[in-house]
Amino acid sequence: MLEVALRHRFPGFALEARFAAPMPGVTAVFGPSGCGKSTLLSAVAGLLRPEEGRVVLDGTVLLDTEARLVLPPERRRCGVVFQDARLFPHLSVETNLRYGLRRAPRGAEGPALEEVVALLGIGHLLHRRPAALSGGERQRVALGRALLSRPRLMLMDEPLAALDAPRRAEVLPYLARVRDRLRLPILLVTHALDEVDRLADHLVLMEAGRVLAAGPIETLAARTDLPLLASRRDAGALLACTVLGHDPLRGLTRLRFEGGELRVPLREEAPGTALRIRVRARDISVSTEEPRGLSVQNVLPAVLEAIDPAAPHEAMLRLRVGQAVLLARITGDAVARLGLRPGQRLWALVKSVAFAGPGA
């Protein structure tokens, strides 16, 4: 468990954040630029000393301004991955990787150099200098260097934000591998929702220096009262799914979720794999009668739980499908035309192709 409570004032900006993140697992701190999420991470790492605060990691107090206890960053054992890799330019990739390893306390457990090198696919880079690496390679080496310092907590400060789309797509799977294989607690700061979907278990939502909400990611994604999430064009419920099977001939994969089955474009994961999928609210339509003769692959019986106002002339519907909740964004006109009211039985329609493309 990581407990964070901070208060710090900058000219024209105040950070006042408090949250607890379950460990192990990945906690994403999500919010728009300038909301204070990177400041928060710096304070956990010890690179910024807040005016008031308390940071406790699994019972070890890293910071307690009231007790005048401030552990310096070099003794916090937090592995930090910065946005701008920050590899030492005068050292080879291998020496960079060993920098933290050499300084890790004796007896600290963690993966060996070979293991990390294999995990991140950087074996062919070991003798190069950072200047000779691509942006994606640099970030992978930085990730490895932080892992090898045998940290108790990994802190990632928008690790993919400085990369272009192809480089991001290259590095993101490695972050997922690190999460799955090493079972390290991770605090991930990001403003990209697809990173949250792909990596996080727990979400801390920040705006203007304050924590708006915190909790399991599926719970927060299904809430309509959080404009930061709900007003986004890519807002929508996150469903925990299991791969049931593939139909390569028809180009479809069947996924099982708590409310039934979904058909999505063919995926690579083996049957039985657990994955999370975001069903964007704008991709769902509803029907008051069971529809026939449609191209839509996914027609799910649902109960309308609530109608919340979204953007002007738009409404966000909360639909209960079995145990799961889906969000649907439709026009205000459609609500009036169909005479929608809470409690009504509906059919939710989701096109399969809506799941294709980035972030699907």
Partner: protein, 231 residues
């Protein structure tokens, strides 16, 4: 080509310049680091003090040294009484005067390269478990090495030609404190010394050019070694 006396002046010049750099370098790096990274009261004063020799007449620097390190000066008398060290009118004194004059050159070069070092790298080293001295030695120092080298070579080249402060503090004693510029000056004051002056001036020029070329070469090699793009 050169007479033994002239060779003596060249050798003395090299020795004085070398000593001034050797003794001046460590404190100059420390002061540069304090000025670039430190936040303490009196920082502006230290900055001004270090740069004083650049803007003051060298003769005034020499006079101040004479007042301070002379046999009756506050520091000079103590050095003489306790350790039997006499600086005025000695080679060591010439080195001290040269070191004081070239100190700001090293500080400026080192500080410039310190400003170019991303503090983020030092922060990264901290998160990887490196303490203050460890960070300085393994990250900061290698990254400012080109600046240190450039500063040292510039200071050495400038030290070969220091005139005013040396002649005021250490006087013009052949074989003791008569460095190249002093020897040239003496030659121009002596009837028939034109040839000597010309030869020594040529040596002086050659040394300066060699120094600059060496600095450039060393800087490039070092930049390559440190994994930086060479401009």
């Amino acid at each position: 080509m050169l007479t033994p006396e002239e060779w003596g002046a060249v050798r003395l010049s090299l020795a004085v310049a070398l000593r001034s750099v050797a003794f001046g370098l460590p404190p100059a790096v420390l002061v540069a680091w304090l000025l670039a990274r430190g936040r303490f009261p009196g920082r502006a004063l230290l900055d001004a003090l270090v740069h004083l020799p650049l803007v003051m007449p060298p003769v005034v620097v020499g006079w101040l040294l004479l007042v301070t390190f002379g046999l009756r000066g506050p520091v000079g008398s103590l050095l003489n009484d306790w350790f039997g060290i006499r600086l005025v009118f000695t080679t060591a004194g010439a080195s001290l005067a040269t070191a004081v004059m070239s100190f700001p050159l090293i500080v400026r070069a080192v500080r410039l390269s310190l400003d170019a070092v991303d503090p983020g790298l030092e922060a990264a080293a901290r998160t990887l478990g490196a303490g203050p001295l460890d960070r300085f030695v393994t990250v900061t120092l290698p990254l400012i090495a080109p600046g240190i080298l450039a500063g040292a070579i510039t200071a050495f080249a400038a030290g070969l030609g220091e005139f005013g402060a040396v002649i005021t503090f250490a006087s013009n004693i052949p074989g003791e404190t008569q460095t190249l510029p002093l020897a040239i000056y003496s030659a121009t004051q002596t009837p028939g010394g034109e040839a000597t002056a010309a030869r020594l001036a040529a040596v002086s020029l050659a040394l300066a050019v060699t120094g600059l070329l060496l600095a450039d070469l060393a800087g490039r090699r070092l930049a390559l070694l440190l994994g930086r793009p060479v401009r």
